[in-house]
């Protein structure tokens, strides 16, 4: 296993399979009364978050705590970061304090890679700019595999702001590594300019791909994109690219609907679809903890 988890690009099919298989061993733990194992006792994991992301942070926090690691939560707000301390100085401080792993969320693409140059700790990318969010991709792959018992050959449509989405970028790489077929569905302004580089097909017409879709993956619409006029209005977005009851009914039998959260109900997904039996959004959250435990477990072993 590698030392850091920075990008889905670095992971082979064997690596992904190892992470997912290991995660499967952690799923049951969440159902027990004692949801904790002693494996990372005495290790320290720091969640270093330069962007707000309560969900990702608490998921990583629970993952580390269930492995018995000590957890430090360090967020940009209300810390020395807001006093102007640079990432490098923060990194050197954490290095001096002897943390074993740093989970980094940062608005700059490539920040986690840069961090690896300053610290001995393992670095896990929890989202960097519009670049990568590997644990999200891994929990999505896990959830898909849990439902279909395979990933290879499945037809996955990823719908929304593909251009700015680190979730999409990571997930497409993971799906390609595992030999799924990917179609990116986006408003023309938000489709990637060079889809061939993604190894995926591109469409602007959601209705045209629905009946050939096993996994409908809806990206969150980032409100600020609307201000930048990438699409005219929430209503038009919902009408053309949102998942509603009619579109749900046109998916093949057994198809699932996924969303990385937090959802804008009524925009990219209606409440009805979000709560439908074939929506696996709650499972994604549950599996997120197991997948992050798996990553911590695999990265931090053998250090002693």
């Amino acid at each position: 296993m590698m030392k850091h988890l920075l990008s889905m690009e670095d992971l082979s099919a064997e690596d992904v399979t190892q992470i997912l298989d290991t995660a499967a061993g952690f799923v049951d733990l969440g159902e027990r009364t004692v949801k904790k194992v002693p494996t990372l006792r005495g290790r320290t994991v720091c969640n270093l978050f330069y962007e707000d992301s309560t969900r990702t942070r608490i998921s990583f926090e629970l993952a580390a705590k269930r492995l018995s690691a000590d957890v430090l939560n360090f967020s940009a707000k209300g810390s020395s970061v807001s006093k102007g301390e640079s990432l490098k100085d923060t990194a050197l401080t954490l290095q001096a304090m002897g943390v074993d792993a740093i989970v980094l969320r940062h608005s700059e693409s490539g920040a986690p890679l840069t961090l690896t140059q300053w610290v001995d700790a393992h670095v896990l990318n929890a989202g960097d700019g519009s670049h990568q969010h590997p644990t999200q991709a891994l929990l999505d792959l896990f959830t898909i595999r849990q439902r279909f018992d395979r990933i290879e050959g499945l037809r996955v449509a990823i719908v929304g702001d593909v251009l700015h989405s680190r979730v999409a970028r990571s997930l497409v790489q993971g799906l390609r590594t595992m030999d799924a077929e990917v179609t990116l569905v986006a408003p023309p302004t938000l489709a990637p300019p060079r889809p061939e580089a993604w190894g995926a097909a591109v469409s602007t017409d959601l209705d045209a791909v629905l009946d050939k879709t096993d996994v409908l993956y809806l990206l969150r619409v980032q409100r600020e994109r609307m201000a930048q006029q990438f699409f005219p209005s929430p209503r038009e977005y919902a009408r053309l690219w949102g998942a509603d009851r009619d579109r749900l009914a046109r998916l093949p039998q057994g198809a699932i609907v996924m969303h990385p959260g937090p959802m804008n109900r009524g925009m990219e997904i209606t409440a009805e679809v979000a709560d439908a039996p074939n929506a696996v959004i709650g499972e994604q959250v549950r599996n997120g903890i197991a997948v992050r435990m798996s990553c911590l477990y695999l990265l931090l072993g053998g250090d002693g």
């Binding site: 061993g25 477990y297 072993g301 053998g302």
Partner: protein, 185 residues
């Protein structure tokens, strides 16, 4: 003392089969009789330690059914997350832990193929404690090869087998390896 060829050496010839399939069957059956003699059968649960403790637990349960007519529930225990060599040896693949009944108030019998340093059993006891509060934990092993590093002993032993630390004891089971035998090399 244990230089190769020294006459005091306990080691049999390399790769010698020291327990045949028949020996193994008799050993399991004798352990089952000892379990029956101890009583409390309806409170027992057998937990096999992954990997080769699991078929052993199943065989003990089959023998208990045959001897006493009691169905003793059988589960499996993966001790990987409780091992003490995670930092030195690195992460190992995880296996499933399946516990068919609530262990609270029950007598848990851990089953494993070989008892050696005792470290796996320490890990297994911690794993059981995280599942609940059993009334007692006992230990059944097919082979006790000595060289304990922790104050642990087995309650039911198929065969005591003196070995040298540099030897390896391999238990092969039909369910996993296609054959029943114990080999010391």
């Amino acid at each position: 003392m244990t230089s190769p060829g020294s006459p005091q050496q306990v080691s049999p010839q390399a790769d010698a089969g020291v327990l045949s399939a028949d020996d193994m069957g008799r050993a399991v059956r004798r352990m089952a009789h000892e379990i029956v003699e101890r009583g409390n059968l309806d409170q027992l649960v057998l937990l096999g330690i992954r990997t080769r403790g699991v078929p052993l637990a199943e065989r003990l349960a089959a023998a208990l059914l045959d001897i006493a007519g009691t169905h003793v529930p059988v589960g499996s225990l993966d001790t990987t997350l409780y091992r003490d060599d995670y930092a030195s040896a690195g992460p190992r693949p995880l296996a499933e832990t399946v516990v068919p009944v609530d262990v609270d108030g029950r007598e848990v019998i851990l089953a494993d193929d070989v008892l050696y340093t005792g470290r796996t059993i320490r890990a297994a006891m911690d794993a059981v404690m995280d599942l609940g509060r059993p009334q007692a934990i006992r230990l059944a092993v097919l082979v006790d090869r000595g060289h304990r590093e922790l104050p642990i002993r087995a309650d039911y032993v198929g065969k005591n087998m003196p070995t040298a630390p540099e030897q390896s004891v391999r238990v092969r089971l039909v369910e996993i390896d296609g054959t029943d035998e114990v080999v010391v090399a």
